[in-house]
């Protein structure tokens, strides 16, 4: 199908996502309107005030209340969205599990930023990596365009009857959220056709068919079975995420997968990375390839559910894999992405070496040189006969 290319706009990442939300035009947006909230909610409030959307916009007194109101709205039968970041995400914590276990197809934008302390408002992935076991689907975008695209695809994924789980989609705080970059938008009609009309399942506001949502389920109840059902929905989500991406590609010309490999086919060393740093890494892969180094990269797009089979297939032939985490799991063997990748490659024979790199915490910049240094360590490990230490490597850590 021929795709006509729309004009390129110069927008911030937050503007891109607010526009996506406006085109989705959900029934309800519940959000906390004050810092650590991002500009997304402010821009959306403006759209509501200007009559550009038909959304009922509910401001609340905390992020805990924001997620609680989202749950109430979604359980009531409304297509519901929200946005958050950093400490706000942390304050939502206990209710995030509730949204997932009620199987509410909410879509939430989370701008990835550090958690206190010391107080720091800058980019890293500590907030949502900490929320990986809440039962939400997690999509990590690389740039302005993908932040917009993932927001729209999130609706289809969350609401699919094989899934019915909340989706959070992320992009890097400031690096993308506050920076000006290029964006091509679909029309509102295209987005509306793609997301389709909302289908509420067992809505509480259907008074002719009364239902109870979230009652006490005691020692002899079905809590365990309920959790297994959530996990089965996660398994089914792989296909739904890919199908939504393929259908979206027909519309936009932009293709997305569960993961995003680059020059990996014959790679001997490779880096796994999440978010905007993938762009810088690709540039270094090209530079190394020009020098004859068989370097490759793969970007994590979907982190929950984690496409472990696809990663094993993509990386099984690589000698040494470096995993770059922009969050740490203190006292664990490495960061959260490292542990997933290492586990995914355990059954490969021969088994690639997997080395942990931590970078960019609290917004510490990650320069091309730092990524080249990481590749140099991988090269050295690939050349040596023994297996390299799996201790953490820190990129651009101050020595003074």
């Amino acid at each position: 199908m021929a795709v006509t290319q729309p004009e390129i706009l110069a927008v911030t990442g937050n503007e891109a996502v607010a526009e996506a939300m406006g085109q989705i035009d959900p029934d309800v947006v519940c959000a906390y309107p004050i810092t650590p909230q991002t500009e997304v909610v402010q821009l959306y409030a403006q759209m509501v005030a200007d009559g550009r959307v038909s959304t009922e916009f509910v401001t609340v007194e905390s992020e805990h209340s924001a997620m609680s109101a989202v749950i109430g709205s979604a359980a009531g039968g409304a297509r519901t969205m929200t946005a958050t970041s950093s400490q706000g995400f942390a304050l939502m914590w206990e209710v995030l599990f509730v949204a997932a276990s009620y199987r509410l197809p909410v879509v939430m934008t989370t701008v990835n930023r550090a958690l206190s302390g010391p107080i720091n408002i800058h980019c890293d992935h500590s907030d949502t990596m900490g929320g990986r076991d809440t039962g939400w689907i997690q999509l990590y975008g690389e740039n302005h365009q993908e932040a917009y695209d993932n927001c729209i695809q999130g609706v289809r994924i969350a609401e699919h009857m094989d899934v019915r789980l909340p989706v959070m989609h992320m992009y890097d705080g400031y690096v993308i959220s506050g920076a000006i970059g290029p964006l091509q938008m679909l029309t509102k009609e295209q987005v509306q056709a793609f997301v389709g009309p909302y289908r509420a399942v067992n809505p509480m506001l259907d008074t002719k068919n009364p239902v109870t949502v979230g009652p006490f389920d005691g020692l002899h109840g079905w809590y365990f079975e309920h959790k297994v059902a959530q996990n089965r929905a996660m398994d089914r989500a792989f296909k739904v995420i890919q199908d939504a991406a393929d259908e979206y590609a027909e519309l936009s010309g932009r293709r997305y997968g569960l993961l995003d490999p680059y020059r990996l086919d014959d790679a001997e060393i490779a880096i796994v990375v999440v978010g905007s740093t993938a762009g810088t890494t690709r540039m270094i892969v090209d530079k190394l390839r020009d020098r004859g180094v068989k370097a490759g990269m793969v970007r994590v797009r979907v982190f929950r559910p984690f496409p472990h089979k696809e990663f094993a297939q993509a990386l099984q032939h690589v000698k040494v894999v470096g995993v770059m985490d922009r969050a740490d799991s203190f006292g664990a063997q490495g960061g959260p992405v490292f542990m997933e990748i290492r586990s995914a490659l355990y059954d490969c024979d021969p088994r690639p070496q997997v080395l942990p790199f931590i970078y960019g915490l609290g917004g510490r910049d990650i320069f091309p040189d730092n990524i080249e240094q990481a590749f140099a360590e991988l090269e050295e490990a690939a050349r040596s006969k023994g297996r390299a230490s799996t201790g953490r490597r820190y990129l651009n850590l101050r020595k003074d």
């Binding site: 110069a10 800058h122 690096v175 506050g178 920076a179 740093t277 730092n370 850590l397």
Partner: protein, 202 residues
């Protein structure tokens, strides 16, 4: 593995232009960085503009970056080796190393009443290619506010040749025309065209 800014030559391909803006909070450095990105878009080029984030305090030194390229821009780190440095407040020359990491042939455009030669003598500046323009005075006389950002873009247009001045004027007339009253738009256009004419080379 610390990356320290050095003085090595830029390794980026020539199609990529990297600009670093030094200003003080309230002088519109971030707005100027974004304006250049939008002008690049108008030329069919790829672009990126972002500030070095921190608490926004009026008068405090701030840094912003613009990248302009013929190809999609993938790098997302701060600019380490700017080919062009724009200094919106000359007093920063005494307190910030504005040319840190810049290659030897970098262009440094400074908002100052002095000529480049006077500026060099006054601040003891060596190397690089300095240009000056009295952007604050031009802003006061045209926009009626001491915000030097748009005049600096006019001077930048002249010395870099990134965009034809006619395109810059046309963009301002259309884009600012949507946001500001005609008096403000014409003031900004006058500021840009005057600084385009008045920028001094060595």
């Amino acid at each position: 593995m610390t990356t320290k800014s050095g003085t090595q030559k830029v390794e980026a391909p020539p199609a990529l232009t990297e600009i670093r803006w030094h200003g003080r909070g309230g002088q519109g450095a971030v707005t100027a960085a974004k304006l250049v990105a939008e002008l690049a878009l108008g030329q069919g080029k790829f672009f990126q503009a972002f500030p070095e984030y921190g608490p926004e305090r009026s008068g405090a030194p701030i840094v912003a970056f613009t990248r302009v390229s013929d190809a999609p821009i993938q790098v997302y780190s701060g600019v380490e080796h700017p080919q062009i440095v724009v200094v919106l407040d000359p007093s920063l020359l005494s307190i910030v190393n504005v040319t840190a990491g810049a290659p030897d042939d970098a262009i440094v455009l400074v908002n100052s009443e002095m000529s480049p030669a006077e500026l060099r003598r006054h601040y003891g500046l060596e190397g690089f290619a300095y240009y000056t323009v009295a952007a604050t005075r031009i802003a006061v006389e045209t926009i009626k506010r001491p915000i030097p950002n748009t005049p600096m873009v006019g001077a930048l247009t002249r010395i870099t040749g990134l965009f034809p001045i006619d395109d810059v004027v046309a963009f301002l007339r259309e884009d600012f025309g949507k946001k500001f009253p005609p008096k403000v738009v014409e003031g900004n256009i006058a500021a840009i065209t005057r600084s385009y004419e008045e920028v001094q080379a060595e």
